[in-house]
Symmetry: C2
Subunit: 204 residues, 2 copies
DNA sequence: AGCGTATCTTGACAATGTAAAGATACAGGT
DNA sequence: ACCTGTATCTTTACATTGTCAAGATACGCT
Protein backbone atom coordinates (compact mmCIF):
# COMPACT_ATOMS: atom_id res chain seq x y z
CA UNK A 1 0.00 0.00 0.00
CA UNK A 2 1.98 2.95 -1.29
CA UNK A 3 1.17 6.57 -0.56
CA UNK A 4 0.94 7.54 -4.19
CA UNK A 5 -2.41 7.05 -5.85
CA UNK A 6 -1.52 6.34 -9.44
CA UNK A 7 -4.98 6.43 -10.90
CA UNK A 8 -8.08 8.44 -10.44
CA UNK A 9 -11.18 7.11 -8.69
CA UNK A 10 -14.74 8.19 -9.16
CA UNK A 11 -16.96 9.19 -12.03
CA UNK A 12 -14.70 11.47 -14.00
CA UNK A 13 -17.04 13.03 -16.60
CA UNK A 14 -19.08 14.87 -13.98
CA UNK A 15 -15.93 16.01 -12.20
CA UNK A 16 -14.51 17.33 -15.47
CA UNK A 17 -17.68 19.22 -16.31
CA UNK A 18 -17.62 20.81 -12.87
CA UNK A 19 -13.95 21.67 -13.23
CA UNK A 20 -14.52 23.12 -16.69
CA UNK A 21 -17.31 25.34 -15.44
CA UNK A 22 -15.21 26.57 -12.53
CA UNK A 23 -12.42 27.27 -14.97
CA UNK A 24 -14.82 29.20 -17.16
CA UNK A 25 -16.15 31.23 -14.26
CA UNK A 26 -12.73 32.22 -13.02
CA UNK A 27 -10.84 32.78 -16.25
CA UNK A 28 -13.56 33.48 -18.80
CA UNK A 29 -14.17 31.79 -22.11
CA UNK A 30 -11.24 33.33 -23.94
CA UNK A 31 -8.69 32.13 -21.40
CA UNK A 32 -10.21 28.69 -20.99
CA UNK A 33 -7.64 25.91 -20.93
CA UNK A 34 -8.23 22.20 -21.24
CA UNK A 35 -5.04 21.34 -19.38
CA UNK A 36 -5.93 23.67 -16.54
CA UNK A 37 -9.33 21.98 -16.35
CA UNK A 38 -7.70 18.56 -16.09
CA UNK A 39 -5.31 19.84 -13.45
CA UNK A 40 -8.23 21.24 -11.47
CA UNK A 41 -9.84 17.80 -11.53
CA UNK A 42 -6.55 16.24 -10.35
CA UNK A 43 -6.18 14.26 -13.53
CA UNK A 44 -3.58 14.11 -16.27
CA UNK A 45 -4.02 16.49 -19.16
CA UNK A 46 -5.00 13.74 -21.57
CA UNK A 47 -7.68 12.18 -19.36
CA UNK A 48 -10.58 14.31 -20.70
CA UNK A 49 -10.05 12.94 -24.19
CA UNK A 50 -11.29 9.50 -23.13
CA UNK A 51 -14.69 10.85 -22.07
CA UNK A 52 -15.09 13.83 -24.37
CA UNK A 53 -12.96 13.41 -27.50
CA UNK A 54 -11.93 17.00 -27.83
CA UNK A 55 -12.05 20.28 -26.04
CA UNK A 56 -14.97 20.76 -28.41
CA UNK A 57 -16.63 17.67 -26.99
CA UNK A 58 -16.26 18.83 -23.42
CA UNK A 59 -17.52 22.33 -24.15
CA UNK A 60 -20.43 20.94 -26.16
CA UNK A 61 -21.51 18.83 -23.20
CA UNK A 62 -21.08 21.80 -20.88
CA UNK A 63 -23.09 24.04 -23.19
CA UNK A 64 -25.90 21.50 -23.40
CA UNK A 65 -26.06 21.41 -19.64
CA UNK A 66 -26.13 25.20 -19.70
CA UNK A 67 -29.24 25.23 -21.87
CA UNK A 68 -31.00 22.89 -19.49
CA UNK A 69 -30.13 25.15 -16.59
CA UNK A 70 -31.22 28.20 -18.57
CA UNK A 71 -34.64 26.59 -18.89
CA UNK A 72 -34.58 25.83 -15.19
CA UNK A 73 -33.82 29.47 -14.39
CA UNK A 74 -36.75 30.55 -16.53
CA UNK A 75 -39.06 28.02 -14.91
CA UNK A 76 -37.98 29.27 -11.49
CA UNK A 77 -39.14 32.74 -12.49
CA UNK A 78 -42.34 31.38 -13.94
CA UNK A 79 -43.11 29.52 -10.74
CA UNK A 80 -43.15 32.72 -8.74
CA UNK A 81 -44.96 34.74 -11.42
CA UNK A 82 -48.65 35.26 -12.06
CA UNK A 83 -50.52 32.55 -13.96
CA UNK A 84 -51.55 34.79 -16.85
CA UNK A 85 -49.72 34.41 -20.15
CA UNK A 86 -48.18 37.86 -20.04
CA UNK A 87 -46.60 37.32 -16.64
CA UNK A 88 -45.42 33.89 -17.70
CA UNK A 89 -43.84 35.37 -20.81
CA UNK A 90 -42.08 38.16 -18.93
CA UNK A 91 -40.75 35.54 -16.54
CA UNK A 92 -38.97 33.93 -19.49
CA UNK A 93 -37.08 37.15 -20.11
CA UNK A 94 -36.26 37.65 -16.45
CA UNK A 95 -34.93 34.11 -16.14
CA UNK A 96 -32.88 34.61 -19.29
CA UNK A 97 -31.11 37.64 -17.84
CA UNK A 98 -30.80 35.93 -14.45
CA UNK A 99 -28.93 33.07 -16.03
CA UNK A 100 -26.64 35.31 -18.08
CA UNK A 101 -25.67 37.32 -15.02
CA UNK A 102 -25.08 34.22 -12.92
CA UNK A 103 -23.00 32.41 -15.55
CA UNK A 104 -21.57 34.96 -17.99
CA UNK A 105 -18.85 32.82 -19.53
CA UNK A 106 -21.14 29.84 -19.93
CA UNK A 107 -23.71 32.12 -21.55
CA UNK A 108 -21.14 33.33 -24.05
CA UNK A 109 -20.12 29.75 -24.75
CA UNK A 110 -23.72 28.82 -25.47
CA UNK A 111 -24.64 31.73 -27.72
CA UNK A 112 -21.60 33.56 -29.06
CA UNK A 113 -18.88 30.96 -29.43
CA UNK A 114 -17.77 28.58 -32.15
CA UNK A 115 -15.96 26.31 -29.72
CA UNK A 116 -18.87 23.94 -29.07
CA UNK A 117 -20.22 21.72 -31.83
CA UNK A 118 -23.80 22.83 -32.37
CA UNK A 119 -24.64 19.72 -34.35
CA UNK A 120 -23.73 17.55 -31.37
CA UNK A 121 -26.97 15.68 -30.48
CA UNK A 122 -26.96 16.66 -26.83
CA UNK A 123 -26.20 20.29 -27.57
CA UNK A 124 -28.67 20.55 -30.43
CA UNK A 125 -31.49 19.00 -28.44
CA UNK A 126 -30.96 21.21 -25.41
CA UNK A 127 -30.65 24.43 -27.39
CA UNK A 128 -33.75 23.61 -29.42
CA UNK A 129 -35.69 22.99 -26.23
CA UNK A 130 -34.72 26.42 -24.93
CA UNK A 131 -35.72 28.03 -28.20
CA UNK A 132 -39.02 26.16 -28.28
CA UNK A 133 -39.84 27.43 -24.80
CA UNK A 134 -39.33 31.00 -25.92
CA UNK A 135 -41.35 30.38 -29.07
CA UNK A 136 -44.26 28.93 -27.09
CA UNK A 137 -44.20 31.90 -24.75
CA UNK A 138 -44.53 34.33 -27.64
CA UNK A 139 -47.22 32.31 -29.39
CA UNK A 140 -49.30 32.20 -26.22
CA UNK A 141 -49.56 35.98 -26.36
CA UNK A 142 -51.31 36.01 -29.71
CA UNK A 143 -54.60 34.50 -30.91
CA UNK A 144 -54.48 31.51 -33.22
CA UNK A 145 -55.35 33.43 -36.35
CA UNK A 146 -52.31 35.69 -36.00
CA UNK A 147 -50.16 35.95 -39.10
CA UNK A 148 -47.10 33.71 -39.02
CA UNK A 149 -44.76 36.45 -40.22
CA UNK A 150 -45.93 38.67 -37.41
CA UNK A 151 -45.33 35.89 -34.89
CA UNK A 152 -41.80 35.49 -36.15
CA UNK A 153 -41.19 39.22 -35.97
CA UNK A 154 -42.40 39.42 -32.40
CA UNK A 155 -40.31 36.41 -31.43
CA UNK A 156 -37.29 37.99 -33.02
CA UNK A 157 -37.92 41.28 -31.27
CA UNK A 158 -38.43 39.75 -27.84
CA UNK A 159 -35.39 37.56 -28.08
CA UNK A 160 -33.26 40.43 -29.40
CA UNK A 161 -34.07 42.86 -26.64
CA UNK A 162 -33.57 40.33 -23.86
CA UNK A 163 -30.47 38.84 -25.41
CA UNK A 164 -29.00 42.25 -26.13
CA UNK A 165 -29.58 43.37 -22.59
CA UNK A 166 -27.91 40.23 -21.28
CA UNK A 167 -24.92 40.66 -23.59
CA UNK A 168 -24.43 44.32 -22.73
CA UNK A 169 -24.61 43.55 -19.03
CA UNK A 170 -22.21 40.60 -18.90
CA UNK A 171 -19.71 42.21 -21.25
CA UNK A 172 -19.58 45.24 -18.99
CA UNK A 173 -20.84 47.58 -21.70
CA UNK A 174 -23.83 48.60 -19.61
CA UNK A 175 -22.16 49.31 -16.31
CA UNK A 176 -19.95 52.34 -16.85
CA UNK A 177 -22.03 54.48 -19.21
CA UNK A 178 -25.36 54.06 -17.47
CA UNK A 179 -24.71 52.68 -14.02
CA UNK A 180 -27.05 49.79 -14.58
CA UNK A 181 -25.41 47.96 -11.72
CA UNK A 182 -26.48 50.82 -9.47
CA UNK A 183 -30.10 49.96 -10.06
CA UNK A 184 -31.82 47.62 -7.69
CA UNK A 185 -32.93 44.17 -8.85
CA UNK A 186 -36.52 45.34 -8.55
CA UNK A 187 -35.84 48.27 -10.88
CA UNK A 188 -34.11 45.99 -13.33
CA UNK A 189 -37.01 43.56 -13.36
CA UNK A 190 -39.50 46.39 -13.77
CA UNK A 191 -37.53 47.71 -16.72
CA UNK A 192 -37.48 44.35 -18.49
CA UNK A 193 -41.17 44.00 -17.76
CA UNK A 194 -42.00 47.40 -19.23
CA UNK A 195 -39.87 46.84 -22.31
CA UNK A 196 -41.38 43.47 -23.17
CA UNK A 197 -44.92 44.71 -22.71
CA UNK A 198 -44.32 47.74 -24.84
CA UNK A 199 -42.83 45.60 -27.58
CA UNK A 200 -45.90 43.41 -27.60
CA UNK A 201 -48.46 46.16 -27.18
CA UNK A 202 -50.16 44.38 -24.34
CA UNK A 203 -51.85 46.41 -21.64
CA UNK A 204 -50.66 45.67 -18.15
CA UNK B 1 21.61 43.67 -55.42
CA UNK B 2 20.61 40.30 -54.06
CA UNK B 3 17.26 38.68 -54.73
CA UNK B 4 16.46 38.30 -51.06
CA UNK B 5 14.91 41.27 -49.36
CA UNK B 6 16.05 40.94 -45.78
CA UNK B 7 13.91 43.66 -44.32
CA UNK B 8 10.47 44.98 -44.82
CA UNK B 9 9.70 48.22 -46.60
CA UNK B 10 6.70 50.44 -46.17
CA UNK B 11 4.56 51.64 -43.34
CA UNK B 12 4.10 48.46 -41.36
CA UNK B 13 1.42 49.44 -38.80
CA UNK B 14 -1.24 49.94 -41.45
CA UNK B 15 -0.26 46.72 -43.19
CA UNK B 16 -0.49 44.82 -39.92
CA UNK B 17 -3.91 46.22 -39.14
CA UNK B 18 -5.12 45.22 -42.57
CA UNK B 19 -3.61 41.76 -42.17
CA UNK B 20 -5.14 41.38 -38.72
CA UNK B 21 -8.57 42.28 -40.00
CA UNK B 22 -8.30 39.84 -42.90
CA UNK B 23 -7.23 37.21 -40.43
CA UNK B 24 -10.23 38.01 -38.26
CA UNK B 25 -12.62 37.87 -41.19
CA UNK B 26 -11.37 34.50 -42.40
CA UNK B 27 -10.74 32.66 -39.14
CA UNK B 28 -12.94 34.45 -36.62
CA UNK B 29 -11.98 35.98 -33.32
CA UNK B 30 -11.49 32.73 -31.46
CA UNK B 31 -8.97 31.38 -33.96
CA UNK B 32 -7.10 34.64 -34.38
CA UNK B 33 -3.33 34.24 -34.40
CA UNK B 34 -0.70 36.92 -34.09
CA UNK B 35 1.92 34.87 -35.89
CA UNK B 36 -0.47 34.16 -38.75
CA UNK B 37 -1.14 37.88 -38.98
CA UNK B 38 2.58 38.61 -39.19
CA UNK B 39 3.01 35.91 -41.82
CA UNK B 40 0.17 37.40 -43.83
CA UNK B 41 1.96 40.74 -43.78
CA UNK B 42 5.20 39.03 -44.91
CA UNK B 43 6.96 39.97 -41.72
CA UNK B 44 8.63 38.00 -38.96
CA UNK B 45 6.50 36.90 -36.04
CA UNK B 46 8.04 39.43 -33.67
CA UNK B 47 7.67 42.46 -35.91
CA UNK B 48 4.24 43.51 -34.63
CA UNK B 49 5.61 43.92 -31.12
CA UNK B 50 7.63 46.97 -32.16
CA UNK B 51 4.55 48.87 -33.27
CA UNK B 52 1.89 47.45 -30.98
CA UNK B 53 3.48 45.97 -27.86
CA UNK B 54 1.20 43.02 -27.50
CA UNK B 55 -1.47 41.14 -29.30
CA UNK B 56 -3.64 43.20 -26.97
CA UNK B 57 -2.12 46.37 -28.41
CA UNK B 58 -2.79 45.37 -31.98
CA UNK B 59 -6.36 44.31 -31.28
CA UNK B 60 -6.98 47.48 -29.30
CA UNK B 61 -5.91 49.59 -32.27
CA UNK B 62 -8.01 47.46 -34.59
CA UNK B 63 -11.02 47.77 -32.31
CA UNK B 64 -10.63 51.54 -32.12
CA UNK B 65 -10.62 51.69 -35.89
CA UNK B 66 -13.71 49.52 -35.84
CA UNK B 67 -15.59 52.03 -33.70
CA UNK B 68 -14.71 54.81 -36.10
CA UNK B 69 -15.99 52.74 -39.00
CA UNK B 70 -19.11 51.85 -37.05
CA UNK B 71 -19.83 55.56 -36.76
CA UNK B 72 -19.15 55.94 -40.47
CA UNK B 73 -21.65 53.17 -41.26
CA UNK B 74 -24.25 54.93 -39.14
CA UNK B 75 -23.56 58.25 -40.80
CA UNK B 76 -23.90 56.65 -44.19
CA UNK B 77 -27.39 55.54 -43.23
CA UNK B 78 -28.20 58.93 -41.80
CA UNK B 79 -27.12 60.63 -45.02
CA UNK B 80 -29.75 58.77 -47.00
CA UNK B 81 -32.45 59.04 -44.35
CA UNK B 82 -35.04 61.72 -43.72
CA UNK B 83 -33.97 64.85 -41.85
CA UNK B 84 -36.40 64.37 -38.96
CA UNK B 85 -35.02 63.16 -35.65
CA UNK B 86 -36.91 59.88 -35.75
CA UNK B 87 -35.53 58.89 -39.14
CA UNK B 88 -32.06 59.96 -38.07
CA UNK B 89 -32.34 57.83 -34.93
CA UNK B 90 -33.57 54.77 -36.81
CA UNK B 91 -30.63 55.20 -39.18
CA UNK B 92 -28.31 54.73 -36.21
CA UNK B 93 -29.80 51.31 -35.58
CA UNK B 94 -29.70 50.33 -39.24
CA UNK B 95 -26.05 51.34 -39.53
CA UNK B 96 -25.28 49.40 -36.36
CA UNK B 97 -26.66 46.19 -37.82
CA UNK B 98 -25.07 46.92 -41.18
CA UNK B 99 -21.66 47.11 -39.57
CA UNK B 100 -22.14 43.96 -37.52
CA UNK B 101 -23.17 41.97 -40.58
CA UNK B 102 -20.29 43.30 -42.65
CA UNK B 103 -17.62 42.70 -39.98
CA UNK B 104 -18.87 40.06 -37.55
CA UNK B 105 -15.56 39.13 -35.96
CA UNK B 106 -14.51 42.75 -35.57
CA UNK B 107 -17.88 43.49 -33.99
CA UNK B 108 -17.35 40.72 -31.47
CA UNK B 109 -13.88 42.01 -30.74
CA UNK B 110 -15.26 45.46 -30.07
CA UNK B 111 -18.17 44.49 -27.83
CA UNK B 112 -17.87 40.97 -26.48
CA UNK B 113 -14.16 40.32 -26.06
CA UNK B 114 -11.62 40.83 -23.33
CA UNK B 115 -8.70 40.72 -25.72
CA UNK B 116 -8.51 44.47 -26.38
CA UNK B 117 -7.54 46.88 -23.63
CA UNK B 118 -10.56 49.10 -23.14
CA UNK B 119 -8.57 51.62 -21.14
CA UNK B 120 -6.25 52.17 -24.09
CA UNK B 121 -6.62 55.87 -25.02
CA UNK B 122 -7.38 55.28 -28.68
CA UNK B 123 -9.87 52.53 -27.96
CA UNK B 124 -11.56 54.37 -25.12
CA UNK B 125 -11.95 57.56 -27.14
CA UNK B 126 -13.39 55.81 -30.17
CA UNK B 127 -15.82 53.66 -28.20
CA UNK B 128 -16.99 56.66 -26.20
CA UNK B 129 -17.62 58.59 -29.41
CA UNK B 130 -19.80 55.76 -30.71
CA UNK B 131 -21.70 55.65 -27.46
CA UNK B 132 -22.15 59.39 -27.41
CA UNK B 133 -23.62 59.30 -30.89
CA UNK B 134 -26.20 56.78 -29.77
CA UNK B 135 -26.92 58.80 -26.65
CA UNK B 136 -27.45 61.99 -28.63
CA UNK B 137 -29.80 60.19 -30.98
CA UNK B 138 -31.98 59.05 -28.11
CA UNK B 139 -31.95 62.41 -26.37
CA UNK B 140 -33.05 64.14 -29.56
CA UNK B 141 -36.25 62.11 -29.44
CA UNK B 142 -37.34 63.51 -26.11
CA UNK B 143 -38.04 67.05 -24.93
CA UNK B 144 -35.60 68.75 -22.61
CA UNK B 145 -37.71 68.33 -19.51
CA UNK B 146 -37.74 64.53 -19.84
CA UNK B 147 -36.69 62.66 -16.72
CA UNK B 148 -33.08 61.50 -16.76
CA UNK B 149 -33.93 58.02 -15.54
CA UNK B 150 -36.38 57.62 -18.39
CA UNK B 151 -33.75 58.78 -20.89
CA UNK B 152 -31.38 56.16 -19.60
CA UNK B 153 -34.04 53.49 -19.78
CA UNK B 154 -34.87 54.32 -23.37
CA UNK B 155 -31.20 54.40 -24.30
CA UNK B 156 -30.73 51.04 -22.69
CA UNK B 157 -33.73 49.61 -24.45
CA UNK B 158 -32.77 50.90 -27.88
CA UNK B 159 -29.21 49.72 -27.60
CA UNK B 160 -30.28 46.34 -26.29
CA UNK B 161 -32.69 45.55 -29.07
CA UNK B 162 -30.33 46.61 -31.82
CA UNK B 163 -27.31 44.99 -30.23
CA UNK B 164 -29.20 41.80 -29.51
CA UNK B 165 -30.43 41.60 -33.07
CA UNK B 166 -26.89 42.10 -34.34
CA UNK B 167 -25.51 39.43 -32.01
CA UNK B 168 -28.16 36.88 -32.89
CA UNK B 169 -27.60 37.46 -36.59
CA UNK B 170 -23.82 37.25 -36.67
CA UNK B 171 -23.65 34.30 -34.30
CA UNK B 172 -26.02 32.39 -36.58
CA UNK B 173 -28.66 32.06 -33.90
CA UNK B 174 -31.25 33.85 -36.03
CA UNK B 175 -30.79 32.06 -39.32
CA UNK B 176 -31.93 28.48 -38.79
CA UNK B 177 -34.89 28.94 -36.46
CA UNK B 178 -36.49 31.88 -38.19
CA UNK B 179 -34.99 32.15 -41.65
CA UNK B 180 -34.03 35.73 -41.11
CA UNK B 181 -31.57 35.47 -43.95
CA UNK B 182 -34.49 34.65 -46.22
CA UNK B 183 -35.93 38.07 -45.62
CA UNK B 184 -35.05 40.84 -48.00
CA UNK B 185 -32.94 43.78 -46.82
CA UNK B 186 -36.01 45.97 -47.15
CA UNK B 187 -37.99 43.72 -44.83
CA UNK B 188 -35.14 43.66 -42.36
CA UNK B 189 -34.90 47.45 -42.35
CA UNK B 190 -38.64 47.79 -41.97
CA UNK B 191 -38.57 45.43 -39.01
CA UNK B 192 -35.85 47.38 -37.23
CA UNK B 193 -37.71 50.57 -38.00
CA UNK B 194 -40.97 49.24 -36.54
CA UNK B 195 -39.28 47.88 -33.44
CA UNK B 196 -37.46 51.07 -32.58
CA UNK B 197 -40.53 53.21 -33.09
CA UNK B 198 -42.65 50.94 -30.95
CA UNK B 199 -40.06 51.01 -28.20
CA UNK B 200 -40.12 54.79 -28.20
CA UNK B 201 -43.84 55.24 -28.64
CA UNK B 202 -43.38 57.70 -31.47
CA UNK B 203 -46.03 57.84 -34.13
CA UNK B 204 -44.78 57.36 -37.68
C1' DA C 1 31.59 59.42 -42.47
C1' DG C 2 30.35 57.81 -38.13
C1' DC C 3 27.11 57.22 -34.28
C1' DG C 4 22.77 56.30 -32.16
C1' DT C 5 18.17 54.95 -32.46
C1' DA C 6 14.41 52.82 -34.59
C1' DT C 7 13.03 48.81 -36.97
C1' DC C 8 13.13 44.03 -38.10
C1' DT C 9 14.89 39.16 -37.63
C1' DT C 10 16.38 35.17 -35.23
C1' DG C 11 16.41 32.16 -31.42
C1' DA C 12 14.57 30.57 -27.23
C1' DC C 13 11.06 29.58 -23.66
C1' DA C 14 6.78 28.13 -21.40
C1' DA C 15 2.09 26.90 -22.30
C1' DT C 16 -1.47 24.88 -25.19
C1' DG C 17 -4.32 21.01 -27.74
C1' DT C 18 -3.81 16.64 -29.73
C1' DA C 19 -2.12 12.04 -30.87
C1' DA C 20 0.39 7.74 -29.79
C1' DA C 21 2.11 4.54 -26.74
C1' DG C 22 2.65 2.57 -22.21
C1' DA C 23 0.61 1.42 -17.56
C1' DT C 24 -3.06 0.12 -14.62
C1' DA C 25 -7.76 -1.31 -13.29
C1' DC C 26 -11.53 -4.21 -14.00
C1' DA C 27 -15.00 -7.47 -15.92
C1' DG C 28 -16.02 -11.99 -17.81
C1' DG C 29 -15.20 -16.51 -19.02
C1' DT C 30 -12.88 -21.03 -18.12
C1' DA D 1 -7.87 -18.80 -9.13
C1' DC D 2 -6.16 -17.26 -13.56
C1' DC D 3 -5.98 -15.52 -17.92
C1' DT D 4 -7.55 -12.26 -21.35
C1' DG D 5 -9.48 -8.32 -23.36
C1' DT D 6 -11.24 -3.78 -22.78
C1' DA D 7 -11.79 0.54 -20.61
C1' DT D 8 -9.51 4.08 -18.16
C1' DC D 9 -5.66 6.90 -17.04
C1' DT D 10 -0.71 8.38 -17.52
C1' DT D 11 3.35 9.49 -19.90
C1' DT D 12 5.76 11.08 -23.78
C1' DA D 13 6.11 13.59 -27.87
C1' DC D 14 5.00 17.14 -31.36
C1' DA D 15 3.40 21.28 -33.68
C1' DT D 16 1.65 25.83 -32.68
C1' DT D 17 1.02 29.84 -29.94
C1' DG D 18 2.49 34.56 -27.52
C1' DT D 19 6.28 36.76 -25.46
C1' DC D 20 10.98 37.98 -24.41
C1' DA D 21 16.00 38.72 -25.33
C1' DA D 22 19.67 39.24 -28.36
C1' DG D 23 21.55 40.12 -32.76
C1' DA D 24 21.26 42.33 -37.44
C1' DT D 25 20.01 45.98 -40.46
C1' DA D 26 18.33 50.56 -41.88
C1' DC D 27 18.17 55.37 -41.36
C1' DG D 28 18.45 60.10 -39.44
C1' DC D 29 21.51 63.43 -37.43
C1' DT D 30 25.63 65.74 -36.44
Amino acid sequence: MTAKQPYHKGYLPALLLKAAEDELSENGLERFSLRATAKRAHVSHAAPAHHFKDMTGLLSALGADGYRRLIAAQEARQAQAGPDQVSQFVALGLGYVDFAEAHPALFQLMFASEKPDRSHPDFAEASLAAFAKLQDGVNALYPDETDQARRTTMLMTSWSVVHGLAELIISGRATAPMQLDARSPEERDAMIHAILMRVHEVKG
